[in-house]
Symmetry: C2
Subunit: 423 residues, 2 copies
Amino acid sequence: MTLQQMMPDELRVFYEAALKEYESCKAKGLKLDMSRGKPAREQTVLSDDLFDIDIREHFISDGVDAGNYGGFDGLPCCKRYFAELLGVQFDEVFAAGNASLSLMYDTISKAYTHGLLRSPEPWCKLDRVKWLCPAPGYDRHFKICQSFGMELITVPMTSDGPNMDLVEELVKDPDVKGIWCVPKFSNPDGIIYSDSVIDRMAALKPAAPDFVIMWDNAYCVHEFEGEFLPFRDILTLCREAGRPDMVFEFASTSKVTYPGGGIACFAASKDNMDYMKKLMSIQTIGFDKLNQLRHVLYLKDKEHTIAHMKKHAALMRPKFELVEEWLSREIAPLGIGHWHKPLGGYFVSFFAMPGCAKRINELAAEAGVVMTGAGATYPYGKDPEDSNLRIAPSYPPLEELGEAMAVFCACVKLAAAEKLLNK
Amino acid sequence: MTLQQMMPDELRVFYEAALKEYESCKAKGLKLDMSRGKPAREQTVLSDDLFDIDIREHFISDGVDAGNYGGFDGLPCCKRYFAELLGVQFDEVFAAGNASLSLMYDTISKAYTHGLLRSPEPWCKLDRVKWLCPAPGYDRHFKICQSFGMELITVPMTSDGPNMDLVEELVKDPDVKGIWCVPKFSNPDGIIYSDSVIDRMAALKPAAPDFVIMWDNAYCVHEFEGEFLPFRDILTLCREAGRPDMVFEFASTSKVTYPGGGIACFAASKDNMDYMKKLMSIQTIGFDKLNQLRHVLYLKDKEHTIAHMKKHAALMRPKFELVEEWLSREIAPLGIGHWHKPLGGYFVSFFAMPGCAKRINELAAEAGVVMTGAGATYPYGKDPEDSNLRIAPSYPPLEELGEAMAVFCACVKLAAAEKLLNK
């Protein structure tokens, strides 16, 4: 029987039981963290062989001295590595530093200060800039736009990707300058954009000449269940659709080797690349080529990287299975929550009964379980339904994750009962 | 006898000899580069022991996992390292990535997009921003300002640092928002700012509430002759003078270990730090802490770093002595050039007879010697006197440097003779 089907008396009994369950969780005095998509130490240990490689023997790489200035757009071997990984061309890659997030920030920052390639003027000169935010989405993406004072427009996610009917309609507004996309294992839903969504995205005819698709391919090789899923190259698709300059793609090895200690890149059309290089040459002489060298010697190529990711998968899978098990057993039968079961990425996106997410967050925190803040997956941190919560199971050890899920499920039940009883 | 003292006939004889000397240089078909302040491979080799350190044993550093997200403002050990090196406080340091240049760019970029702590509004909203450029100076500094459309105002360098009478006058203009300083071994003159200049800089009372001193301490431990010269802490001086938020200091290990593969930091007042951290937390989750760890384990502390720099000095000193030797012997007696003899840094700043720098550059290039472009050391790349040339002796081996200096001196003589003969 679902909670909505219960008679008031049954509901009160349910509430009392849920409260008791919650209080007993709370009494354990836990201190657990399911807030961020952070690999566990047992995952980063997988890459510790990285430091057995003696990079000194390889300092001169394709004629470039990795240990000196020069090679502004990255070591050729590193550009080749990312080109193969993403299925783009060598010249479309800029191999950079440790963080794709800062490359994304910089792209938008430069749109503000200097404009993008096809901008009639820098965005800071405009009265208003609007941006499309498929939601639930990645809080850090939204915060970049918010920080630049953009007007954020929520585009609902479907099981195929962003609602493209709406996107096609919204881009007719010349103030709409871009959209965030995490096309494979979207953050947080773990949704893979369908071919139709990708085709429609590449075929967009936005009114703004400098409209930009920010294609954050953060989880391009991050399957934890099943085999590697080949993925289409958005740069080629945009080029074929006649707008080669409409997209910037981003990727990193933060969740392949070390978060914060890996390498990142962006990929873009030749014209975009020429334009960005001109601006970036003012900002830096170059990124850390020694870490690029270290990573390419270690990860070798796409095939070897996918093999390496299997080791991550073996550690991640049991954690996601545990989350699935708890939610299926404790929540599904009660009809007080639903979620998409991901095959990769770092999150489970849970939809509680509308109006319950903040309360669940609060209850969990009181019981010692820190979650991503309710609302964080929506623009301005405001979930209009107050329903979505992002579960990040990767960091805690399996045993702690079980304890955390017990707390979480108790909170979901208690919050739903409170809501239905108007407590 | 100087060239100016020569009679026309003597000058014509001199010219013919100079032309012959130049032609014979040119006939050698050299291909030499004295254009950038780039350490030689024999210098970067000095740090190759860096890779013998097994950082895996030290991953957990002050309770922070260097191999995972977190520790946004840098590993505590790295903040301590830079704090000691610069003589600032621990909380005044943000330990970052591989490049101080990009930290400087970002500071100015954020002034444009968001404003600095004390800005009434972001600089992109202003009709005009003016900036003080002590010149000769660092071309990349000037290009940052130029890229943001600032009006660059040249402040002549004296043997003590920037002309402070002029600086004090210019900062009365509320449009003047900042100044570049390379206070120790200035780029390119190698001048050390005197105590009086530093005191006056810290005591500035600019009309703009958000005026900022960009204190690029690029050569803070880069003596190549004599002992380490202690240097005063500008943060303390500004605080004592009542304007703690008027300065940002920058430093890196690019010329201590590996250019592009080192670590960098900025230092600022507590209020500036809080303000910048808020903005930067949108831009990045953190910088490469593994490289921070590696560097701190290797460089240890200030004393050990200074000892390490002695090895660089041993390689740099003969090169600067060779430049000095050529200039003293070939140029000084003719009265067609002067320069400041540096004790550290990476450059010799040479002043040719006015109107000759571009011609010298051109002649040198034709003879196979690439130099930093004439004018590069001035705002907009325009030296009003067409006199200054930056000699960067570090990269070529000693033997090649000798050949390059022979060409250079021949070009200086020929250009001067041409000038005086109105050829």
